[in-house]
Symmetry: C2
């Protein structure tokens, strides 16, 4: 029974799709002043777009995520990165909503980025790829939404960098969104967040295999990227979750008295980062973290002063998240309340740290289901026992 229930909740096989636009001379004009085109965006969709095209939810991913948010790719053992949240009956209920997950430009997961071929040179862009911003990512995504014929998104949602994109959607296209769910994110990076990103970038650029970004067709700067990812992993977990997961447990009973792996936490960091370098491009790590550091929609930059907007907000933070601490989510809410926006703030008690947005399924499901229902149906159907 349990198994059947689980398979009913799954989307089954899904496929990544690709949309190419901004063909020269209609390149996308970037915030830097540079132009980029053609641009391909990888994306996936789950559920069906209704007749009014009013049930579309745009899901935006974090630094190392991709368009494959839910369901299974042919032959894969593991589903997409947010499968726990997207599917029939789940938080983003694909029986009600049409869910789109769009990859970002600058990445390395099927969308145009530094590892893509520069049409002008027929070589990978490498550092010839222009510096992109969160706004550039969102402008590209808007082309995809136009392409899908959607005038207004029911919801834009994302955690971490995905949350930054969601906030940037508010800045750029406020009239095209009904509600927004920024999760474990910020209006801008603090100097500590910039510092962690910068050390990651320095680790990559310190690797001689990086070769000023021109390593394609040769060895990746694996060691540098691995160090960057290890730093990331420490910041994604909380002190408590590390204590619970590893404590000071050792690989062997006695210390090695060598510079090997003595503690389980060391083995974990190495294992996870070794896996990461196989599936991620070091230059994309540089471009995306730079976009994160440049992002700043603080103060009155988030909302237009003179327009009354009817966007609803559900802002979610996690108590043990020290990379994107709760005060940063509270600051989002503060800015929304100053403008009399309809904003709900939820701080979930979780020990998982920043990773909580991928792991705290039950609490998030509860919050998001109700919030979407209220936005979509105009009232809280939970009261009618329909959920």
């Amino acid at each position: 029974m349990e198994k059947k229930k689980q398979s009913e909740n799954n989307l089954g096989l899904v496929k990544t799709q690709y949309f190419t636009f901004a063909h020269p001379p209609q390149e996308l004009k970037l915030e830097s002043g540079d132009k980029l085109g053609p641009i391909t965006l990888a994306y996936e969709t789950y559920g069906k777009l209704d007749k009014d095209k009013a049930n579309a939810i745009l899901v935006l991913h974090a630094l190392s995520g991709d368009a494959h948010a839910a369901g299974f790719h042919e032959g894969d053992k593991d589903p997409g990165w947010w499968d726990v949240m997207i599917g029939p009956g789940k938080a983003f209920d694909t029986e009600k909503y049409f869910v789109i997950c769009s990859n970002i430009i600058g990445g390395c997961k099927g969308s145009t980025g530094p590892s893509s071929l520069n049409p002008k040179t027929q070589e990978p862009y490498a550092l010839g790829f222009p510096i992109i911003t969160i706004a550039d990512m969102v402008k590209a995504q808007c082309n995809l939404i136009d392409h899908l014929g959607i005038k207004k998104l029911l919801c834009v949602v994302g955690g971490s960098v995905g949350g930054m994109q969601a906030l940037e959607w508010v800045v750029l296209y406020p009239e095209r969104i009904s509600c927004v769910i920024p999760i474990a994110t910020a209006l801008k990076h603090s100097p500590q967040q910039i510092a962690f990103d910068e050390v990651g970038r320095q680790a990559i650029m310190a690797d001689p295999d990086w070769r000023q970004g021109n390593y394609y067709g040769q060895a990746q700067p694996e060691k540098g990227l691995s160090v960057a990812r290890m730093i990331g992993h420490i910041t994604y977990m909380s002190e408590q979750s590390m204590e619970e997961k590893f404590s000071r447990r050792q690989k062997d009973k006695n210390y090695s008295f060598k510079f090997g792996t003595d503690f389980e936490v060391e083995g974990y960091l190495r294992y996870r980062s070794d896996n990461f370098v196989k599936r991620f491009d070091a230059n994309s790590y540089l471009y995306i973290t730079k976009a994160m550091d440049y992002f700043d929609v603080s103060g009155d930059k988030l909302l237009p002063k003179d327009k009354k907007l009817a966007i609803r907000f559900l802002v979610i933070a996690f108590k043990s998240d020290w990379l994107y601490p709760a005060y940063q989510s509270q600051e989002i809410v503060r800015q929304l309340k100053i403008r009399n926006m309809d904003a709900t703030y939820c701080e979930i008690k979780s020990s998982y740290g920043h990773d909580a947005f991928l792991l705290e399924v039950e609490e998030q499901t509860h919050l998001i289901k109700h919030f979407l229902n209220k936005t979509f149906y105009g009232y809280n159907i939970a009261r009618n026992n329909e959920i």
Copy 2:
């Protein structure tokens, strides 16, 4: 007047001294089972040892510190690393006390470490240097204290790794100490602390200039060591102190749209780490961080079960220190209280993070002066207005 007062408070010119012992076949037996000798320890002393040799205070330094804790070296513009705390009338009053600062084995500041010549090969030890522990460092220091003819130390004090050494003195030589001041330290590293150390080590070992440790006489693994130090710097500051010092201030008004230095915090990290690699040996970074990770005097390991000890403790923590959070100092106090030890706990409200032990002079001076007076004179002379 102000200037005169300041010069009166200074120790003036000081010199580092060296003590060599453990000559073969009397090598120091290490915790790993290996032997090390001869061993040289760099140290400095300030003030005068009294007739009873009862006024000696041993100061122990942090990861990148050295024996030069106070006063000026000939030609130097800056005094020793804890000059604000050591000198006439200061917290460690050199008009009353004889202050010794001992360097650690494994380091690169004049004491025997991986960059020292291995007498057997007449080459630098490099990774041929045995893995050392905090206990090994303390055993070496005890040889220095014997050499100085001191039977009982009035006080052992240190912050961070220096605090670990102070605690290890309690474990190894409890009958030779009157009081201990562990500052911003822990009974053992948490997995998060181990993880930060491990990433630093991985950054160094990822640098091809590291050459399995055999880089002496050639280029240092500067880039790897620089990344390790940047990670360190982030953890030494608090989020708040970074915000106060840098916020999101930029080097130039506009973003560079390059992978250069946009934010002041990035420039700071690079500047500080560039300086660090000129004065620190990468292998020493590996050895000392490993010793820190191995350190564990938690539970009943700190104090003997059956002996009643008359050691007084002043345990100091800082509210914004997230590298050695206050709960770790509270755990030290808890262990002391379980054994009915005379222990005082002070949590100083500071925004400086872990660096606070170097910066919060006034509060620490107040606490330490009274604590030492009470220990040394047997009563609190502050009440008699003698301070």
